[in-house]
């Protein structure tokens, strides 16, 4: 029972962190049809900025998050403007190469500037230690990560289902040309969603730093995981991504607990099985 509960909370926390980081990737891939392997690099950049802000500048956790999210978006703007825009509509191989090249660059620069060591983001007092739930106690930062996931999912649901921006976004995901001809300024929709995607990645990188530690090879190490989330969930589908994150989080965490000697064997086996059965994602619509 003890194990079931701790596996459950760990899986939930891990899944939610995955969700916060990958949801932006899913939306932009559904929107712009770009295979982006560099998304994890933005989560990593966010983590590095937050670490720098707290450790070196001595800022508070909340301020560091804000600074990191804004900083990462600012870094992403020229990258989007000068690199990504050239590969919209390009063959998939081109997109893979460009974004993997960018990932290599970010890793190399991070390694050079910050060194190869793990970077920590000290948690504020309230998030340290366990929280007593009455029948069990759970690490506060995991609870925080779960809460962040729920808040992000809820906020995105409101944004996409209840606002006029959401209507435009959904129209553009469905059929960009049609949306444009109906007067949706797709360029603005693209720019805003890219910024939100990058911002969420940075936010997820910070919130999840205890589970996915910040180091130079972060961008490469979790690249696959984020892509798998989008592929399994179906590009552009928020419920799909949520389901994918929870399923993958559960498989990965359970595997680590029960058969640690197999490493990630069962995780990848499950990925292959799921993708083979649902080539367009669990809740994907495109066929």
């Amino acid at each position: 029972m003890q194990t079931v509960f701790s596996v459950g909370t760990d899986a939930l926390a891990y899944g939610m962190v995955l969700f916060v980081i990958s949801i932006g990737l899913s939306v932009t891939m559904g929107l712009m049809r770009v295979v982006n392997l560099a998304h994890g690099a933005f989560a990593m950049i966010g983590g590095y900025i937050a670490s720098y802000a707290t450790q070196i500048l001595g800022l508070g956790y909340g301020v560091a998050i804000l600074l990191a999210v804004v900083g990462t978006i600012l870094i992403a703007i020229p990258i989007e403007r000068f690199l990504f825009r050239r590969i919209y509509g390009a063959p998939e191989l081109t997109q893979v190469l460009m974004t993997i090249g960018l990932t290599f660059c970010v890793i190399g620069i991070a390694n050079y500037v910050f060194g190869p060591t793990l970077k920590t983001i000290p948690l504020p007092e309230t998030l340290r230690g366990p929280v007593d739930l009455g029948f069990r106690s759970i690490a506060a930062h995991k609870l925080f990560a779960i809460a962040c996931g729920i808040v992000v999912a809820g906020a995105l649901w409101v944004l996409i289902d209840k606002t006029s921006f959401g209507v435009k976004l959904r129209a553009s995901v469905d059929n960009a040309a049609m949306a444009a001809s109906l007067g949706v300024r797709t360029k603005i929709v693209y720019a805003v969603s890219s910024a939100v995607a990058v911002g969420l990645a940075a936010f997820g990188g910070i919130v999840g730093a205890e589970l996915l530690p910040i180091e130079p090879y972060y961008a490469l190490r979790y690249m696959v995981t984020f892509l798998v989330v989008v592929s399994v969930g179906g590009a552009g589908s928020i419920p799909g991504a949520l389901v994918a994150c929870l399923v993958l989080g559960a498989i990965d965490t359970t595997g680590r607990y029960l058969v640690p000697e197999y490493g990630e064997f069962f995780f990848y086996l499950a990925v292959i099985a799921i993708v083979c059965v649902f080539p367009n994602g669990i809740l994907g619509r495109r066929s």
């Binding site: 891939m29 295979v35 690199l83 050239r86 590969i87 998939e92 191989l93 081109t94 893979v96 190469l97 460009m98 993997i100 090249g101 960018l102 990932t103 290599f104 660059c105 970010v106 890793i107 190399g108 620069i109 390694n111 050079y112 490469l220 696959v224 892509l227 798998v228 989008v230 592929s231 590009a235 000697e261 197999y262 490493g263 990630e264 064997f265 990848y268 086996l269 990925v271 292959i272 993708v275 083979c276 080539p279 367009n280 994602g281």
Partner: protein
């Protein structure tokens, strides 16, 4: 041939430039570069042999990515399978003849190719890419876990191949290994030149451009691709076996995502869809890597990233493709 020439002379149809001459020139170029390498770097034959083994991996990747249009980030699964097949044959089954080991490697690679191909062809686009990555990780984790057979993370050591033809032992300087490797590469190169020009090669190029059209001609798209995957696996497996024979150890890195991604980078830097491009890319990348990473391994990753972006933006046909384009332009101006 006579009829072909007769038709060509009539000005009607001919089958393209004189391929045989090109093949021989290509073979001569490969052997010449190999010979120059031997003379210039007699103390670095181990690196040259490794380049030869990786060249086989990149050629094999070109068959799938360049000629069939399948983007994959998991091709090292085939290379590593060949390496482990040859290594396990030597260590556990006492098959130590280098040619037999190479054959076992080719068969192991082909089997891995069939398995990987059967899985990859289930998806398209992003799903296919994700499958390719998951496959190489799955192979990696399997090899790690099956340490009784593979030595796990310590690597599979204790491979001691017999002398070639019972005469030329694998010496400390790696001369035998180098010549053995270049011989394999030369034979594979010639066979692949024939392959890509054959009806089967033409069918694959057709699939790359439009699979729907190919199936409307009555050809089986997935059957053809699976076959190409098996052939590609055999070539990659030979590369892996060569690596096992020359270094006498097989490590988990031969089955890694990083090796897969690097192979793709080499192919793209050289130019996809051309066997020469694959060779040029491998040579350039490996030489450059050896040169730069000796100075600073961190800069290496930044530079290779920047190089990739530059190739994508400014030379999408790769070094070889761009060079031939320029040559054509100069030639036509004369």
């Amino acid at each position: 041939m006579a009829i072909q020439r007769a038709i060509a002379a009539e000005g009607k149809v001919d089958a393209g430039p004189n391929w045989l001459l090109r093949d021989l020139m290509g073979l001569a170029a490969v052997l010449a570069v190999a010979g120059i390498g031997y003379l210039l770097f007699p103390n670095n034959l181990a690196l040259l042999t490794r380049i030869t083994a990786i060249a086989l991996l990149v050629l094999s990747l070109d068959l799938v990515t360049g000629y069939c249009g399948i983007a994959t980030l998991g091709h090292a699964a085939l290379f590593g399978s060949g390496a482990y097949a040859a290594g396990i044959a030597a260590v556990h089954f006492d098959i130590t003849d280098p040619f037999a080991m190479a054959a076992v490697g080719a068969v192991g690679g082909a089997a891995a190719g069939l398995l990987a191909g059967a899985i990859m062809l289930r998806g398209r686009g992003l799903a296919q890419l994700v499958l390719s990555i998951a496959i190489v990780y799955l192979f990696h984790e399997t090899a790690n876990k099956a340490s009784n057979w593979t030595g796990g993370s310590d690597g599979l050591a204790g491979i001691s191949p017999d002398p070639v033809f019972g005469i030329f032992g694998f010496d400390l300087w790696g001369r035998t290994a180098y010549v053995f490797g270049i011989a394999i590469l030369a034979v594979v190169f010639v066979l692949l030149r024939l392959l890509v020009r054959s009806p089967f090669g033409m069918l694959c190029r057709g699939i790359r451009e439009d699979p729907v059209r190919v199936s409307a001609m009555g050809a089986s798209v997935n059957g053809t691709l699976l076959r190409m995957y098996a052939i590609s696996g055999a070539v990659a497996g030979l590369g892996g076996a060569l690596n096992a024979i020359s270094t006498q150890v097989v490590g988990l890195d031969s089955l890694s995502f990083t090796t897969s991604a690097e192979a793709l980078v080499m192919l793209v830097v050289g130019g996809t869809g051309s066997l020469f491009g694959a060779l040029v890319g491998t040579l350039t990348f490996m030489w450059f890597e050896d040169f730069v990473s000796a100075i600073n391994p961190f800069h290496w990753l930044t530079i290779i990233g920047a190089l990739l972006i530059a190739v994508v933006l400014f030379a999408p046909n790769g070094l070889y493709g761009t060079a031939t384009q320029l040559l054509h332009r100069v030639w036509n101006k004369r």
